[in-house]
Structures are given as structure tokens and as C-alpha cells.
């Protein structure tokens, strides 16, 4: 009889067992866009002044890029292929759409999200611009045009004599930008790192002169898009400098 009571007691104890959960954060990388503050007047490298009417980017994805790894690359080459859906949200990529209006920029950073990558050495960031969806942060009546564009820039170029020539550049396709870190980001242990994606739109109009403007609108557009690509810079930030 005592035995049965003990058995019953053991089962009852199991039923009343307390539960507990301990969750520890792993490797995390906070990412923020850091546009430059827009000056009253932008001066180009060719001495022109730019009056900006519109300068908008629609960004949809940020991806952490691994450094070249011969063994890993070889493995991916020989390993059986795996079908993968169009993924925006993975441990190494963020799929948070955002519209950045640089005319209004005061140099304030915009938090993009937190990546949770596996251990490894990462050498840069890939930023993908794409037409914004309705949920994009920063989408307003003024930026509604970005639902069909990834880049929209318009304004006027003013020469030394005060003569203004209007320009407009837009991109309706994907804007693909890859930019390296100033030093490799080595992630080996759980901890928090910070990456700032600096955007310097003061350099978007370098290399453009009136002759180019008069010659070809598409050449100007091409030049501006290339300048936009090279205006991105990925910077590893220290905790004290962050946001």
C-alpha cells in the first residue's frame, strides 16, 4: 500500500513541477542609416551649386556579407542545391522597407533593425533599394512617388553666372549597392555590434557639368545613380557613438 502511495506521490510531484525558461541573446548587429545633414547649398566638385527639390531613396533590404571563404564557397558549389524562396528576413539580412527623404535630412540616424547572424567574419554590407510598399517607414503624401521608384532626385544646377539648369534622375529598378567595412567584422561570441550605413548625398552631383546636362539626360541620370552607389559607406560604430 505504501508503495502505491509513493508511486502516486511521485506522479503528483511531476504534475506540480515548476517550469522555467532562460533565454540568452546571441550575436546581434544593430543597423542604422546615417544620412548626412543637407546643407543650405550643395557645392559639386566642378564648382556648381545644386538646389535640391527632391532627393529620395526607397530601401528594402540590408544584408551582411561574409568575407570570401574558399572552403565555404567550395562546399556550396558541391553541396546539393536547395530551393529557397525570395527571402528578405534571414539572420544576415533585414527586410524592413524604408523611404529616406534626404532634402529634409538633418543628419539624424534611422534605426533599420537588428541582424542576428551566425558566427563568422563579415567584410561588408549590401543595401538593396527597391520601390516601397505601403508599409514602408517614411512613406507619406510627399514621398508617395517612391512606391514606383527606388531613387528620385530632382533640382537645378547653378553655374557661376547664376544660370540654373533643371535636372531629374530616377530609377524604377533595383538599386544594388555593396560597400565594404573599414575593417572586418569578426563575430565569434554572443554580443552586440553596431553598423552605420552612411549616405553622403552631397557627392551625388560630382562629375556633372552643364555640357553633360545639355548633351544627354540619360548620361546625367547614369552618373547620378553611380554617384549614389558610391555615396554609401558601412561603418562599424562603437557603443558610445551609437544613435
Amino acid at each position: 500500500m505504501t508503495s502505491r502511495l509513493l508511486a502516486t506521490a511521485a506522479l503528483l510531484c511531476a504534475l506540480l513541477l515548476p517550469h522555467c525558461v532562460r533565454v540568452t541573446d546571441g550575436i546581434e548587429v544593430d543597423v542604422a542609416y546615417q544620412p548626412e545633414a543637407t546643407p543650405a547649398q550643395i557645392q559639386t566638385d566642378m564648382g556648381y551649386r545644386v538646389r535640391l527639390s527632391q532627393a529620395m531613396l526607397a530601401l528594402g533590404q540590408v544584408e551582411l556579407r561574409r568575407c570570401d571563404n574558399f572552403v565555404l564557397d567550395l562546399w556550396r558549389l558541391v553541396a546539393p542545391g536547395r530551393a529557397r524562396a525570395h527571402e528578405f528576413e534571414t539572420p544576415t539580412s533585414l527586410g524592413v522597407p524604408v523611404v529616406i527623404d534626404l532634402v529634409e535630412s538633418a543628419g539624424t540616424p534611422m534605426y533599420a533593425g537588428t541582424l542576428r547572424p551566425p558566427p563568422g567574419t563579415y567584410c561588408g554590407i549590401r543595401v538593396v533599394g527597391m520601390p516601397a510598399d505601403q508599409d514602408a517607414e517614411g512613406l507619406s503624401d510627399e514621398t508617395m512617388e517612391m512606391m514606383e521608384r527606388s531613387v528620385l532626385v530632382s533640382g537645378a544646377l547653378e553655374d557661376g553666372d547664376g544660370l540654373e539648369t533643371a535636372f531629374r534622375a530616377e530609377l524604377r529598378q533595383i538599386l544594388d549597392v555593396e560597400t565594404p567595412f573599414d575593417r572586418p567584422l569578426v563575430l565569434g561570441r554572443p554580443g552586440l555590434e553596431h553598423v552605420a550605413i552612411e549616405i553622403d548625398h552631397r557627392r551625388w552631383f560630382d562629375g556633372i557639368d552643364l555640357a553633360l546636362l545639355r548633351k544627354s539626360e540619360s548620361a546625367v541620370q547614369h552618373r547620378i545613380i553611380e554617384n549614389i552607389r558610391s555615396s554609401f559607406r558601412a561603418v562599424l560604430s562603437a557603443e558610445e557613438d551609437w544613435l
Binding site: 505504501t2 508511486a7 506522479l11 513541477l17 525558461v21 546571441g26 550575436i27 544576415t92 542576428r116 551566425p118
Partner: protein, 296 residues
Amino acid sequence: MKGWWIVGALCAPLWVAAEASACGTCAVGDPTLTIVGMEQPRANRVRTSATVRHRNDRIGEPQVDELRLSEQRMELAGAYSPTDRVTFSLMMPLVHRLVTAVNLAEADIWAPGDLELRIRGVIWRDREFAPRHLVGLIGGLEFPTSSVETDTEGVPLPLEFQAGTGSWDPIAGASYTMFADPWSVYVSSVGIFPTKGTADTRVGISFRQTAMGQFQPWKFLAFQLGAELRIDRPGYVGGVRDPNTGGHITYGTVGIVGLPHAKVLIHATAAIPMIQRLDGSHEEGFAFTAGLIYDI
């Protein structure tokens, strides 16, 4: 502190066994050493057991969304046969799960799992005393006794982080046992039919086939060799199919059963995945089971 629970539970049957006075296997007229669930029913036979299980699991694509799971379960169970044909068993697990994400984030969970009730009824036997052939039906129910683990905002964590499915899961199946001392064979087919559970999750229907042969060269020691097949239908979260669920897996098993005391059995089984055809990115690893059984 939690380790003491396991040690205590494993030792409990031994403590109870101190009062042992008769041979459990002798009373059924067959010397075969059987673990809980495979025994011959005998009116008023009561058995208790404590079992520890360990297994590893990998879900998701490596370097992308992989979760590595290491699970240890401690199961306390009791089985009672009111007649020579029916056995009721009740099993309560305590689950420890360590889930590691690709970014080395960890969730360490200790929680009670889902209580399981099983009823096994013998529908045919070749003779009343010491039958050599037993055919039985199995019915049961898993109760949603596991706690629902949530994040800091109160949102339930994914199923991998839960100690149980949190659903009412009916169980149905059949078994056949053959006793031909020193050999015995156990075959069972069981289906588990989960209902909607934790975090709007519906685990897929699972079919489990066990085939096991046992050779018992001595009264106190037996060796087991077998196979366990599991076929799962896909699971759904919020109505959307979880791509890493479903498929089938076959384990090869080797085990040993010992009788250190007239009323106490100890057993250990290793299960090695032999054929894995699990859907999506899902890989199961080596599993190990050890336990103590006390015939009251």
C-alpha cells in the same frame, strides 16, 4: 537543483523496491523481461517506471534559420491492469530543452510536458495462462499539461521552444507480442492525431511502427534489436505549413534489459537514425533511453 529531480525520480522505484516480496515476471507465467507497455496484463498488476531520454534534433537551413535542439526528458509512469486483459498507463514527462539558434542565442527550458494516458486491451490470446501470442488494441490521449512558454511581450514561443504540443492528442493503435522463451517479439502500430495546440500550431498526424525482437539467454538479462519507423504529416503554424515538418524516419535500435532485483528491471536503448526522409531542413540525431521499472 533540477538534477536532483532526475536522480530522485530514478531512485524512487529502487526505494519502493525495498519492500519487494515476489517476482513480477513469475506471476504472469512467463519469464520474459518486458518494459512498460509490452508486458502481459495480469489482474491487479501495478508497475511504476522512471525513464530518461536524450535526443538531438536540427531544424532549418544551416547558417540561415537553423535551430539545434538538445532534449532530455524524464518520464515518470505508472501502469495498472484491473483485469487480465486491460492495462491503463499514465506517464508524466519533465522536459529539459536547450535550443540554440544560428547566432548562438539560447533558450534553456525546464518544464512539465504533456501527460499521456494509454489503455491497452488484449483482444486475442492463444491461451489464458502464459499466453504465447497476444494481440491488443491501444487507445490513449495526450493532455495539454505542458505550460505555454512566452516571450517578454507575452507572445507564445515557437513550438520548438515548448515542452509539449499543448493540444489534446488522441492515440490509437494495435500491438502483437509473441513470447517463446528465450525469444520474444513485439510489434506495434500507433497513430497520434493532434488537435490545435500552443501558439495556433497544429502538429501533423504521426504514425509510428515498432518492431523489436528480444533474446534472453539468462533469466536476468535480455538483449533487444529492432526498428522504429515514424511517418509524420506536415505541421501548420497559423494555417501556414511549417516547411521543416513531415516526412519519415527509421531508427535502428539496440537495447538491453536487466533484472537486478526480483521486482526491478533496468533497461537502456540506443536509437540510431538509419533512413531519414524528413521534409525541408530537418535532421534527427542519435537518441538514448534508460530507465528503471518496479513491479509492485
